[in-house]
């Protein structure tokens, strides 16, 4: 400790009993004490003529003010003014040196000199930042309406530290009732808006839902991000659609904040949006955030989170180079399209691992597009609605960014003029749209379309059955004779789910099922009575079974998308199977992650099922799997 600090310490120690005496003096005490008090008062008055002494006393009182509360504190304030020390502080306000002004303001506000309010508030827009900051704090501290004054009139930025300090000052006010801070959300000062958001959060003013949701559309990204964070705190579910709309127009910070919001509040209906983000987002951090959000909504949707220690011990799985398995699986499906013939799955997956990920996506889009152009009756002509002229992918992209109203209008139009080439698109809507009404509309149009289509190709047969209308090497047999409904992996699970669980299961079966599932679903179609469930079963069957329109043409370089999908799954599902052959065990042990979506419906599971479930989820990804990508990204 240096000499000066020591000297000050000594002086303080000397003054301490004197000040204590002043503060705790009561007129009722014994005579001796009264006398002492009066004498002290006279001596101190004399001493106070010395400027140096005044400074030390005012510093001591100032320091003490921080540590005491209650009546002692009030007495301290009174003593400060009684000794005339506030006059010195006032004088400082007229100085030309910024640090003196600031010091004066600080003293006046800390010693609670209420009369100083009107003088101090003039400094709120002072050019010198330190003066300004002190003035803001003092204004807020001295009067209840101070915060309103500052928010209304400040033209300068308010740093985070300053915001915290201001909130702290407000917090020190006894019985303080804050105004509705949403009034300042429309301020033209960016920092006032941010500060207001923080205040709303701090005071838990939940009435600001609409205003905050609107801020998500603010052109300033910082405000956007702050608004989103506020929404997360307050759990404003109503803001989710707005956030989806602004997502692609936001910077990475905002994107991550939005994804956090979905992780906190999202429902399975938002999974598509997140999947879309994880696929199309170029930024690694954002894309992986989307995946982790998916995981949050549906645990184990994407990445199994395993203890690093365990993972390290797992042998390297040579399957793919991508950072995300979900993505990987989907792209495997897509890549399959470009193969000239159906490869045995084990072989195929090895091949895929060597394909550059983003290249694959581009190839896939083109392929899918040309695929549709080739196969979906272009001779029928395109009418005015521009929807028909675009590729499914393009349509999807536009659709995602449409408002609900626009979506409804589009569907109304499509209802009148839909063409078979819209099937994929409509299926996409029917499956992924959050809004149930729109989903239903899409579904109805689809039903109509598919009915026509089936009649057209199959000559009036409208039961979606497997038909031998093509020449692919995919031999179609009557599966009902080979498999029993019990053979499906979904069968045992199905019996333990509740209604929603069952619907989810059926949907999943539709997405990733094999022929076994077709049998299983057909069985359900016969036995189930629940309408909702039946609709889902039909949908699933439609998905599973090669549609006539899909298999209509037999160009050799294209392969049925659905059959590939099925094939891929067959292998994986069989790997699961305990009775599988030696050969199959050698196949890639990884499970399709889609299966893991099932998790949700398995929550109230019968203990007997545990083993199977465990097996379902027991897959791992070797750390090497991610390493490369990460290193690439970093370097």
């Amino acid at each position: 400790m240096s000499a000066t600090t020591k000297k000050i310490e000594a002086k303080r120690a000397e003054l301490a009993p004197v000040i204590s005496n002043f503060l705790f003096h009561t007129p009722e005490g014994p005579k001796e004490e009264q006398k002492e008090y009066v004498e002290l008062k006279i001596t101190i008055r004399d001493y106070l003529k010395d400027k140096q002494f005044r400074r030390v006393v005012s510093e001591v009182l100032f320091d003490l003010q921080k540590d005491v509360s209650g009546s002692t504190r009030e007495r301290l304030f009174k003593l400060y003014q009684e000794l005339g020390l506030h006059e010195d502080a006032y004088k400082k306000l007229n100085s030309w040196q910024w640090h003196k002004i600031a010091k004066g303001i600080l003293q006046l506000s800390k010693m609670n000199v209420k009369d100083a309010y009107h003088i101090i508030k003039r400094f709120v827009n002072d050019r010198r930042s330190v003066v300004r900051k002190q003035a803001e704090l003092a204004t807020v501290s001295l009067r209840t309406e101070g915060i309103e004054y500052v928010l209304d009139s400040t033209r300068f930025a308010i740093s985070e530290w300053q915001q915290l300090k201001l909130i702290e000052v407000l917090g020190n006010k006894e019985g303080y009732r804050p105004p509705e801070f949403k009034d300042w959300l429309i301020s033209s000062n960016k920092d006032v808006v941010l500060f207001a958001l923080r205040l709303i959060k701090h005071y838990n003013q939940i009435g600001a839902e609409a205003a905050i949701t609107t801020l998500v559309k603010h052109k300033n990204d910082t405000i956007k991000a702050a608004a989103v964070n506020c929404i997360i705190d307050f759990n404003f579910h109503s803001a989710l659609p707005t956030m989806k709309r602004v997502f692609w127009k936001s910077n990475n910070d905002v994107k991550i904040a939005i994804l956090n919001a979905f992780a906190e509040m999202g429902t399975p209906s938002d999974l598509f949006f997140l999947e879309d983000v994880s696929k199309n987002e170029k930024n690694f951090l954002v894309a992986s955030k989307a995946q982790s959000a998916m995981n949050r909504i549906q645990p184990d949707a994407v990445l199994p989170s395993k203890d690093l220690i365990d993972v390290e011990e797992v042998p390297v799985v040579e399957s793919s180079t991508k950072e995300d398995t979900e993505l990987d699986f989907l792209s495997l499906l897509d890549i399959a399209v470009i193969y000239e013939e159906v490869l045995p799955a084990e072989q195929a997956s090895i091949e895929f691992s060597e394909v550059e990920v983003y290249d694959v996506v581009t190839v896939t889009e083109e392929t899918v597009e040309s695929y549709y152009e080739n196969h979906l009756n272009p001779e029928k002509g395109l009418d005015a609605a521009n929807a028909h002229t675009m590729s499914t992918q393009e349509k999807m992209d536009i659709y995602i960014h449409m408002t609900q109203e626009e979506r409804i209008n589009l569907l109304l139009e499509l209802k009148e003029s839909s063409k078979p080439q819209d099937i994929k698109f409509l299926e996409f809507i029917a499956e992924k749209e959050d809004h149930s009404e729109i989903r239903y509309k899409a579904f109805r149009i689809l039903q109509g379309l598919e009915k026509n289509e089936n009649q057209h190709v199959n000559g009036g047969v409208d039961t979606p059955a497997v038909t031998e209308t093509n020449e692919t090497d995919y031999t179609v047999v009557d599966y009902d004779t080979i498999y029993k409904p019990e053979d499906s992996v979904f069968y045992p699970l199905f019996n333990y789910g509740d209604r929603t669980g069952k619907v989810v299961l059926v949907k999943e079966a539709g997405k990733i099922g094999t022929d076994k599932e077709v049998v299983f679903l057909n069985h359900l179609l016969e036995t189930e009575t629940d309408k909702v469930l039946l609709t889902a079963v039909k949908e699933a069957l439609d998905r599973l079974q090669p549609k006539p329109s899909d298999t209509g043409k037999d160009e050799s370089e294209t392969v049925n998308l659905d059959s590939i999908r099925n094939l891929e799954v067959i292998v994986d599902v069989e790997t699961l199977d305990e009775h599988n052959s030696e050969e199959k065990e050698e196949a890639d042990q990884r499970l399709p992650l889609e299966l893991l979506f099932l998790n949700e419906s398995l929550e109230d599971e019968n203990p007997n099922q545990e083993e199977e479930i465990e097996q379902l989820f027991s897959f791992e990804i070797a750390p090497e799997y991610f390493k490369d990508d990460y290193n690439k990204l970093v370097s």
Binding site: A16, F24, D63, Q65, D67, S69, G70
Partner: protein, 124 residues
Amino acid sequence: MDSKSLILAEDDVMLASLLKYRLEKEGFSVTLCQDGKKVKEELEAQLPDLIVSDIMMPYFSGIELTDYLRNQLNSQIPIILISAASNDENVVSAFELGANDFISKPVSPSELLVRVKRELIRKR
């Protein structure tokens, strides 16, 4: 009436002397310690009737002091802690370790006095 002895552990000179003044005025005999280490020495010499200690102190925090008193010395002397950090974590761990009362900075001397008296009555 013999005066109750009290250890006041507080590193801020001004506040310490103020509190000491207030407590002495009420007839307590107060030993002032500027850091935790001195408290420890003091405790080894003689146990007081009550301890008032700041949580944030050089060398030996108030929480550690509580721990030391209860678990090492096996003493049940009332402890009142003072701290600027009125965060839950500190309060909870202080109470878990056996602190009797807690008062947060800024301190109201009269409040402290009431609490000190209450603890002494309880002790009896």
